[in-house]
Structures are given as structure tokens and as C-alpha cells.
Amino acid sequence: MSSAPVRPAAQAEPFFLDGAPGRRFCLFHPPAGTCRGALLYVHPFAEEMNRSRRMAALQARALAQQGYGVLQIDLYGCGDSSGDFGDARWDIWKDDLARGAAWLAAHCGQPLTLWGLRLGALLALDYARAAAHPVAHPIAHPITSMLLWQPVTKGTSYLTQFLRLRLAGELLDSGAAQGGTDALRQALRAGETVEIAGYDLAPQLAAALDGLPALEAMAPSCPVHWFEAVSAAGGASATGGAGGALPAGAARVAAAWRERGVDLHLHALPGAPFWATPETTVNADWLAATCAAMERRETEQHDGV
């Protein structure tokens, strides 16, 4: 920690960033001392964003303290940003990441790390994929590493889980759920917006989630630190272990990525799923492990040179 900052990070600055359409709420955490790098945080979907807000804020402050400039951006139709959730589209969200990355490049001018939670991790990976096709989708600000927090491994399965919240609501109201997720998908395919747990889901956004390739096919070209919560009984190691306690889906993806030469570091950490718990959950080990991963990433880069 010889490069540890000598003065505390300045307080975070909230602002609205122009976007088309509307504006995006942003919170920038300036780095303490000399800037070591920039991070762009990509929040998860719907209520998971609210439940994980505290963990995101604590992590952003910890990383800023460590010397990183961190930008939290509320995607279109989410949080404090413009628009209704029902107006949100996958492609607008990818444009939002490009906006955030450009802002960070102008204000930090350092290598960019994308940090995404749950569906935000999937969005970050999908955005980063464009780097492999620079002509069709130019990315002005190359991504040098990624932090994936409990990434959603399949868009279509995630959509099914979200649709189930509506069935649960119907069960509570009337004692019976009408149809199933298939019926809801049919309504979406017919162009209807469906309301789920208070969120309007547009058919276009649902189709984008259904159309995403599985994570196996989204191998990033930069180093990745992947954090996965496992039950405490699993006894997984806290730092970059083999991840024996990983859920099958995640383990499959990890194996596929390694086969393709991805520089992947898995962190299986015990703890409750803080993006889903009814009360605010803070996992201090998770925060510390993420900071340690960023520290290690930097050491490795220097060793590599």
C-alpha cells in the first residue's frame, strides 16, 4: 500500500448529465490523491437497484478512498434519471454507459473499469462486446478491466424470474395466478406493456433480454474479477479460490471463459444476496474483497510490464 492516499477523498458530487432523451442522475466520487483509474458503476434491474443502493454507495466511497474516480449513473427510466421505467430500452442503456465512460475519460483520463451488479453486469458485458466490432459500434474509451458482481448469466431466465413477481402478486390478490410466464410473454410479444411489481416492462426491453446470448458467448477481452455470493455453509475461500461452491450456471460460464483464455478471477464469498434482501444488507467482506481485487489488478498490470 505504498501508493495509499495521504488525504481523504473529497465528498461525492451529484449532478445531472445530458442524455438523449432527458438527463441522467450521476454521483461522482472523486479519487483521494492521484487518480489511479476510473470506474463506471452499472446498477441492477428494477427493485434490485434500490435494495443494493447502500452497498454500491459504500463500495464507491471505499474505491474513491483507494484512489479511483467512481461514477454512479442512473440509467434512463431508473432512479433519479429522466423518463419512465416503461420507456427504458436496452440500447438507450448502452448509450448511457458510453456517456458515462466519456464523462469519466474527460474528468479522470485513466484506464476504465466497468463494475456491474446482476443485470448491470450483463449490460456491461454486452456493452463491452462492441469493442470487438469497433467499426459497427465504436467505443471511444477502451475497457481495461471489469468487476462483475453476481452477474445474471442468462437474460431470458432473468426475465422469467421477473415475470414471476407478477404471478406472485396475483396469487396474493385472488388466490390464483392467471396463466403463467408464457401468457405474459405472449402479451409482450403482442406489443403490450405489462406492469410487474410496480414497474412497466416494455415489450422492446423484454425482447432485448430474451434475445441476449448466454454469458458463455460474451467472453470479455479484458481481465475480469467475478464476485459470487455463496451460502456460508459452502466454506468457499474468500480470495480468488477455485469457486467450488459456485452455482452450476456460473461455474459453466467460468469454465467456458477460461477455455477461451479469459483472465478470470473468481471470488466466492459467503453472505446474503444483498440485492434481494428485504432489509438493507451490508457485506463488509464483499466490500473489502472488491477493494483488494482492484489493488491486485494494478499489481499484476505492473508486473506484466
Binding site: Q11, A12, E13, P14, F15, F16, R23, F25, L27, A46, E47, N50, R51, R53, R54, A57, R61, Q72, C78, G79, D80, D84, F85, R164, L165, L167, A168, G169, L171, L172, D173, G175, A176, A177, G180, E195, A197, G198, Y199, D200, A276, P278, E279, T280, V282
Partner: protein, 283 residues
């Protein structure tokens, strides 16, 4: 009339707090401070507070919603809703400073934020009125709360539950109904002794005496399908002092029969925003 959102940062003690100000083109002298309850942050469940603020600001009222210390984006240690008076005062200070011409505020809050408001309102002369939605009066995290918030949710996230549901949904529905019935019985059984003179819980007493001292207009909004609202109504119904308070002419009472605790449908959210706006202009 289009409103405009602005980010606001202000201090409470040594901690920095973050909020969003929704500003009408021409703000009236009465603003609304949205107080956040439960585990939420300033956007609210399914963005209820974001949408409410824009709705009220479009109607001419400046609105501030913010995270108190230890919640959402704000700094500081997490704290209980019984200990947020300094946060509320700091937010009202910041609100007044940011909006010239603002002379008084209405505090608006759901669940334990409504409870915090009931305890705070009479202590600050700038508070002209309050809107309380499904106020929280449970003094311990007892069985019913655990059933509703933890056990039930855990079941919804359990794949085995969904496999059962797909095989035979009526059995599962019946078991859910019986589980909810048990929870209601438990709540009724626990609410009555709390309302009596034997062992009054500390903070519901403070809520009541706070509201007895508060002279401004009060809007109460209840969800019909919410055990938190039900428990408040049971408690208040069994206590003559609460009964007198709620029957007073400065208290307006509304109920949305179908709505759940967080008003999780657009129609319910819009109804709440509409009631709030109409009431704000009525005095």
C-alpha cells in the same frame, strides 16, 4: 407545467446527505419534503417518490426527497427511524435555502417514515402539514413481520415453491391464504395488549403525543391490503386518545381498498399522488 429536477447535497453534522429537488417553474410558498422509510432510498419502491415529486412539482409545489444518514447515497452510520430528527431538520434547512420564497413545508412519509414524521412535526414551526401513509406502529420485530417480510419472500424465491405452483396451483394458493390468515390473527392478538394501558410501546406513544401537539392539517392514507396499516388502525381504534385525534376536523382520511403496503401499481400510485395534490391545494 414542466418541472425541473436538481441534485442537492447538504450536511447533517459531519456527514454529507444527498437529495433531489423537483422545482416547478414558479414555486408556491408551500413545499413538500418526502421522508423515506424502511430499507428504501429516495427514489422509493418502484420509483414512487421520484414520480410523486415530479407530479407535485408539475402542479406547482417544490419537492425535496433525500436519503437520511446511513441510507442510500448519504454518508454516516445507519440509524433507526426514531433517531432522524437532526436529519429532518437539516433537510428542511437545505430545502428552504435552495428554494427562495418557500415559507413552509409539508412532510410526506410511508411506513416508518410516517412514524418519524408523527414524532417530529410538532417540534418544528416550519412544518405546516403532514401526509402519513400506512404508519408503522410495531414496537418489536415480531412473528408477523418475520412471516410477511422474510418467510414469505423467501418462499417466493425458492425454486421448489414454483415447481409446486406449476404442478397444482390451488393447493399452494390455499396454503398461502392460510399462512396470511395466521399472520393476521397474530397481528390482531398482539395489537390489542399494546394498545391498552398495561405495557405501552415507547414510540407509538411518542407518535400519539406528537400528533396531539401538532396543529396543522393531516392527511392519512391507508392501504386496504396491508397488515401495517391494519395494525395502525387496530391500535388507534382501541385507544380513545387516538380516536379523538383521528376524528378531528383537521384530519382527512383516505383508504385504497385494493392497494398493498407500497402502492405497487401505477393506478394506486397515481391515486395517492392525486389525493396528495388535491389536499395540498385545499388549505
Amino acid at each position: 407545467m414542466a418541472s425541473d429536477d436538481r441534485a442537492l447535497a447538504f450536511d447533517c453534522g459531519t456527514d454529507r446527505l444527498y437529495g433531489i429537488l423537483s422545482l416547478p417553474q414558479q414555486a408556491c410558498a408551500r413545499g413538500v419534503l418526502v421522508v423515506v422509510g424502511g430499507p428504501q432510498y429516495r427514489a422509493g419502491s418502484h420509483r414512487q417518490f421520484t414520480l410523486l415529486a415530479r407530479h407535485l412539482a408539475d402542479d406547482g409545489a417544490a419537492v425535496l426527497r433525500f436519503d437520511y444518514r446511513g441510507m442510500g447515497d448519504s454518508e454516516g452510520e445507519a440509524r433507526d427511524f426514531e433517531a432522524v430528527a437532526d436529519d429532518l431538520r437539516a433537510a428542511i434547512d437545505a430545502f428552504m435555502n435552495a428554494v427562495p420564497g418557500l415559507r413552509e413545508v409539508v412532510l410526506w412519509g410511508l411506513c416508518d417514515a410516517a412514524s418519524a414524521i408523527a414524532m417530529y412535526a410538532a417540534t418544528d414551526a416550519r412544518v405546516a402539514g403532514v401526509v402519513l401513509l400506512n404508519p408503522w406502529v410495531r414496537s418489536d420485530d415480531g412473528m408477523a413481520r418475520a412471516t410477511l417480510k422474510h418467510y414469505y419472500r423467501a418462499r417466493l424465491l425458492d425454486p421448489a415453491f414454483w415447481r409446486k405452483l406449476l404442478r397444482g396451483r390451488f393447493d399452494v394458493a390455499a396454503s398461502l391464504r392460510s399462512m396470511l390468515g395466521l399472520a393476521r390473527t397474530a397481528l390482531r392478538g398482539r395489537a390489542r395488549p399494546a394498545a391498552g394501558a398495561a405495557a405501552p410501546a415507547a414510540f407509538p406513544e411518542r407518535m400519539r403525543s406528537g400528533m396531539q401537539s401538532f396543529r396543522g392539517p393531516v392527511l392519512l392514507i391507508f392501504s386496504g391490503a396491508d397488515l401495517v396499516a391494519r395494525e395502525f388502525c387496530d391500535l388507534a381504534g382501541a385507544d380513545p386518545a387516538w380516536q379523538r385525534l383521528l376524528a378531528a376536523s383537521h384530519v382527512t382520511r383516505r383508504q385504497l381498498d385494493q392497494a398493498d403496503h407500497t402502492f405497487s401499481r401505477r393506478a394506486w400510485r397515481d391515486q395517492v399522488a392525486d389525493w396528495t395534490g388535491t389536499w395540498l391545494r385545499s388549505w
